[in-house]
Symmetry: C2
Subunit: 372 residues, 2 copies
């Protein structure tokens, strides 16, 4: 493994010059750059990550805490994960994967200076990790929305709106007898952020519309899903619409409805809340509010990068911000160029929420008029 000194020698320059060629932090003449780059290529030089981290206090690694908790669909988790990894790579960063949901992992990699930042998934309403996260020397970004997000940066789909929208789509079609098949009890008991928010929005919308609300938690197993579907059918025999917020249950919900003689969408309309891939891999293409998991993961990385770039001193005659290329959702403060001063250390920016959309596929239709 050649070192920077080897490169310097080969190029006939000093080590610092090589470093500056690499980082671009000082101007180096064209010919010199050329020689240096050539030497780097010839020798196959790759800077030693540890040495770099030691000297620059930057590791080019971000930690991703993706706890595999009971009740959360692995497919969805992996969507987030790949979104994060992909986007991180575009910023020349790697991802250290933490799967334990305790704080110890975070503290270890943080205090040990193994990472530049932390992204945390599966946030709960009153997450115990919050205070520790706030105390980190590295910035932290949450995927999800805890009850108190002060001092933290958050990004997620706007699940409250998801709840409203899902129901509204059905009522707009004319459905009045609707049930929600939700996440597993364990997820709710944990007060998982997305589940509670979705539920809140759904309930609010239902009450506003004067509908009876029927909410049925549901295990992700086949038997659990079957039981939940039957329970809903029994509690509301005249139901014509279902919202399903539970990826693992979808196949069984679908087949159970069928077995019970309810055709989809003729007899009952179904709108799912899940990633598009999941909606499309079912026995029938699901009308759904797609969870853009990959995008959200990517957005989390964008936020990390924002937090990592030293706040550009707000000089008015600005060469633009160094192109973080953040395709941020339309929300919160304007991504580029803060309107006025940078504000109180950007700690109070609004959470970045992606607006949800209904994608109509093959499982929703107006209720049949006959029973009316």
């Amino acid at each position: 493994m050649p070192t920077i000194d080897d490169v310097a020698r080969a190029a006939g320059v000093s080590a610092s010059t090589v470093s500056y060629v690499l980082s671009g932090k000082r101007t180096i003449s064209g010919p010199t750059q050329e020689r240096v780059r050539q030497a780097i290529a010839d020798l196959g030089f790759r800077p030693h990550a540890g040495a770099r981290a030691l000297a620059s206090a930057r590791t080019s690694v971000i930690a991703l805490m993706a706890p595999l908790r009971a009740g959360v669909d692995v497919n969805v988790i992996m969507q987030f994960v790949t979104g994060v990894v992909r986007r991180a790579r575009e910023f020349d960063h790697d991802v250290l994967l933490l799967t334990q949901d305790d704080m110890a992992g975070i503290e270890r990699v943080s205090h040990g200076s193994m990472v530049d930042a932390v992204i945390v998934m599966d946030v709960e309403a009153d997450d115990e990790r919050l205070p520790a996260l706030r105390g980190l020397k590295q910035p932290a970004v949450l995927i999800g929305l805890p009850g108190d997000e002060r001092g933290l940066t958050c990004v997620d789909l706007d699940f409250e709106e998801v709840g409203r929208l899902a129901l509204r789509h059905l009522t707009d079609l004319g459905h009045r007898r609707v049930a929600l098949i939700g996440p597993p009890p364990s997820v709710l008991e944990r007060h998982t952020s997305y589940a509670e928010r979705m539920l809140r929005g759904y309930r609010a919308q239902a009450e506003a519309a004067g509908l009876e609300v029927l909410v049925q938690p549901c295990e992700g197993t086949a038997v659990g899903a079957r039981a939940a579907t039957l329970a809903v059918l029994e509690a509301m025999p005249d139901l014509t619409g279902v919202v399903v917020h539970n990826e693992s249950a979808l196949p069984t919900v679908l087949s159970t409805l069928r077995r019970e003689g309810r055709r989809v969408p003729d007899d009952v309309s179904l709108v799912a809340v899940c990633p598009a891939e999941v909606a499309l891999s079912q026995s029938i293409a699901l009308t759904a509010i797609d969870i853009p998991a990959q995008e959200i993961g990517g957005a989390a990385v964008d936020l990390v990068m924002d937090l990592l770039t030293p706040t550009p001193p707000p000089r008015p005659g600005g060469a633009a911000a160094p192109a973080t290329a953040a395709a941020a959702p339309v929300e919160g403060t304007d991504p580029t160029g803060s309107p006025t001063g940078t504000g109180p250390t950007r700690a109070t920016v609004a959470p970045h929420l992606f607006p949800p959309h209904v994608t109509v596929r093959e499982t929703t239709a107006p209720p049949r008029r006959t029973p009316a």
Copy 2:
């Protein structure tokens, strides 16, 4: 962030003493150790990972290449991943996640000295990454079995035996008309190691038993699985047994059989090849050859640690090997204490193959006598 010097000062010793207390590589007196540990606790000292990597040439990080390829079930991948992460943590190591399947990622982290070793998943029969892997300065462990594993360390379930065993279980029960619903075409076209090996074993066993072999590739989607099931039923209407080696297809295969009037296991027996969790979360508990994905992932880490511990010079009067606590499968050369000399740099050790077992649950039974 306190440094080792701060600790040394607080404890009234030199920095090297602190280091030796931490590493245990030299004897330090009891009282001194006590003072040092106290100082560490008081200050909340955590060694700087970069500095440590620089000085010791060890990062305590291992790279895991887990490409998310079309056709491989995410649940299974994640089982491996968590197995790796968990076991790595037991050895005080962290995991850097690579999801691209190109070699660039590996080379980057390897040459940059970001990791101590590499674990590679989803190996193909003639994997193009092999030569590069052999050239790495860090050890590499494959989960899977390429055609030519010389110079590489491999671990996996013995999928050839899986193929034989699955079929044998059915024939032992008396079934003679059996079909295999396999992985998606894309997986086979890539010559994915596990798929080909399973198929080979299955074919061999079928021929040995003089059975007609019917193999049906199958997409992981609901429509794909339905199509595959119907195809098999049409090609072999009198079939009484199915082997399914395709996690994502299982729910639909099951429901399709049912819809076609074939009761499981009364009319047709089904044995799956999948992780136990998957077998148990179906509408009926599947008789299956469980893929111990977590264990295999853990075993990969064990192998990494073996490769990482400097080969204990084979002195006969041995204090035992430093307890890597490897629960290795019963295979290959004896894990501890090589029978004779350490052999040619352990490059030629046999691949570590886990022996498969059939776990009988509720989907297999003898064929009904009536049609005979």
